[in-house]
């Protein structure tokens, strides 16, 4: 059952807004107590996201602990995003999509050669985005790139242990909102994947908004 929770926050009262063009990385910070909205502007765009503690970037989002502690494979309103040290980083407080994936990981040049064809190596990818943003920022490097969240993506697990990729359940204007429990670095790759039908082979922009 998908539960939709909407937000009272008004876009014109946001203290910060930025549109991430299709296929680009974006690294920024959200302070403890602020609310972050990720907005799927045109629908079914994968927003591949990693979170780090700003005080210590070695402390980062932990997909296995997050799934285990909520006893659920999908993320939605109420999900606490835990770190690799067991601390809450953010809490999902609103979600008009109802389900987000943290199993599928990010596309990479290397995984594209495995998943699709050896000749796909030279296409743009999320992990290249992550790596570029990490190294440009200087606080993180390849070793800090762990399993991410794919906001707006639908990757169901079947009771017999299968993994399927379903059409997106998002749509233009759907969003997810997270309250930061501490100061966090947000690292986004607005997915450039052109081999997977989940976004209709058409990567589109996404917007981030932050409220105090």
């Amino acid at each position: 059952m998908t539960v939709i929770t909407t937000s009272e926050l008004r876009a014109d009262e946001a203290v910060f807004r930025h549109v991430i063009p299709a296929g680009e990385p974006y690294l920024f910070e959200v302070k403890a107590g602020q609310t972050l909205r990720l907005l799927d502007l045109e629908g079914n765009q994968a927003v591949d996201t990693l979170f780090y503690s700003a005080a210590n970037p070695r402390e980062r989002y932990d997909a296995q602990r997050t799934m285990r502690r909520q006893n659920k494979v999908y993320l939605t309103t109420g999900t606490v995003l835990y770190s690799n040290l067991g601390n809450p980083l953010l809490t999902i407080v609103a979600d008009t999509c109802g389900r987000h994936d943290t199993l599928g990981g990010a596309c990479a040049q290397e995984s594209n050669t495995v998943r699709y064809a050896l000749g796909k190596r030279y296409m743009h990818s999320c992990r290249d985005n992550f790596l570029c943003a990490c190294l440009r920022d200087g606080r993180m490097n390849k070793r800090d790139i762990a399993a991410n969240i794919n906001f707006f993506m639908n990757v169901p697990v079947t009771p017999v242990g299968g993994l399927t990729f379903e059409d997106g359940i998002s749509a233009p204007g759907k969003y997810v909102e997270l309250r930061a429990e501490r100061d966090v670095i947000v690292l986004i790759s607005n997915c450039p994947q052109l081999n997977n039908p989940c976004n209709g082979w058409n990567p589109t922009p996404a917007e981030v908004l932050v409220w105090n």
């Binding site: 070695r58 296995q64 659920k72 199993l103 990981g105 050669t113 697990v157 009771p159 242990g161 299968g162």
Partner: protein, 244 residues
């Protein structure tokens, strides 16, 4: 797919039993096979794999699962690195299901679940936790918290229902159950033998696991993994390209 005789054709190089709560790490060289055996039944082994020569390349479970369209691991599957290569192929498995979801507990989570179990009172029976055990082994190779990613929990079965909720299956692994990992590249193996984090038993009672190394002598051992999916064929191709 289950094979139980495959080790018989290979010479054993070394054997060792890791006691419940124990942790170890070693390099499984290209062409070698590691057999892990659940001695008493009910064991769980939390496993990390890394490129022995460049450990920033390591097990990537999202790539592994989506590349093989699976949410469980068993014979015929490969464990991929984040660089599109095969760190290990599962060439034999009498268990049928190994868990990629549960992760490991840290010290606080172990205390919450099992109560206090300090060295001061219990000596070497003190309550260990997977997070610290793996970090200790990582540290011995000059690795750290950055390198501790998602683990596979061998010998444990966790199903996911239609709503996405996890269900731990008790008694999944029987005495003598085993799994074999073939390494097509030099792979740093880091593991700890502790109860699965979702095992509902309130008693801290980790079980031992027996390790056996062997030479594969033939690449034919991994053929079933290589040919089980076109993705695996390409991942093996990438691994061989790496060794040119």
């Amino acid at each position: 797919m289950t094979t139980t005789e495959s080790l018989a054709i290979r010479a054993t190089l070394y054997e060792e039993t890791v006691p419940g709560g124990g942790h170890t790490s070693f390099i499984l060289k290209r062409g070698q096979v590691l057999r892990l055996t659940d001695v008493d039944g009910g064991a769980n082994v939390s496993l990390m794999l890394l490129n022995a020569h460049q450990p920033s390349e390591r097990l990537n479970l999202p790539d592994t699962l989506k590349g093989q369209h699976t949410a469980k691991l068993t014979a015929g599957h490969c464990l991929y690195s984040d660089m599109g290569r095969v760190l290990a192929a599962i060439t034999a498995d009498s268990c049928g299901w190994h868990d990629p979801f549960g992760g490991v507990l840290n010290a606080d989570e172990v205390r919450e679940k099992y109560g206090s179990g300090r060295y001061q009172e219990l000596r070497n029976d003190f309550f260990r936790n997977g997070h610290d055990n793996l970090l200790v082994e990582m540290g011995k190779w000059n690795l750290d918290l950055q390198d501790l990613l998602m683990v596979v929990n061998l010998f444990s079965k966790v199903t996911v229902d239609e709503a996405g909720a996890f269900h731990f299956v008790p008694g999944h692994s029987k005495p003598g159950d085993h799994v074999e990992l073939y390494a097509p590249m030099d792979t740093l193996v880091v593991l700890t033998a502790l109860q699965h984090p979702m095992d509902p038993s309130p008693e801290y009672a980790p079980r031992p696991v027996h390790l056996t190394w062997g030479e594969a002598h033939s690449e034919g051992l991994s053929l079933a993994c290589r040919s089980s999916r076109p993705e695996n064929e390409r991942a093996f191709h990438n691994t061989e390209r790496f060794h040119l």
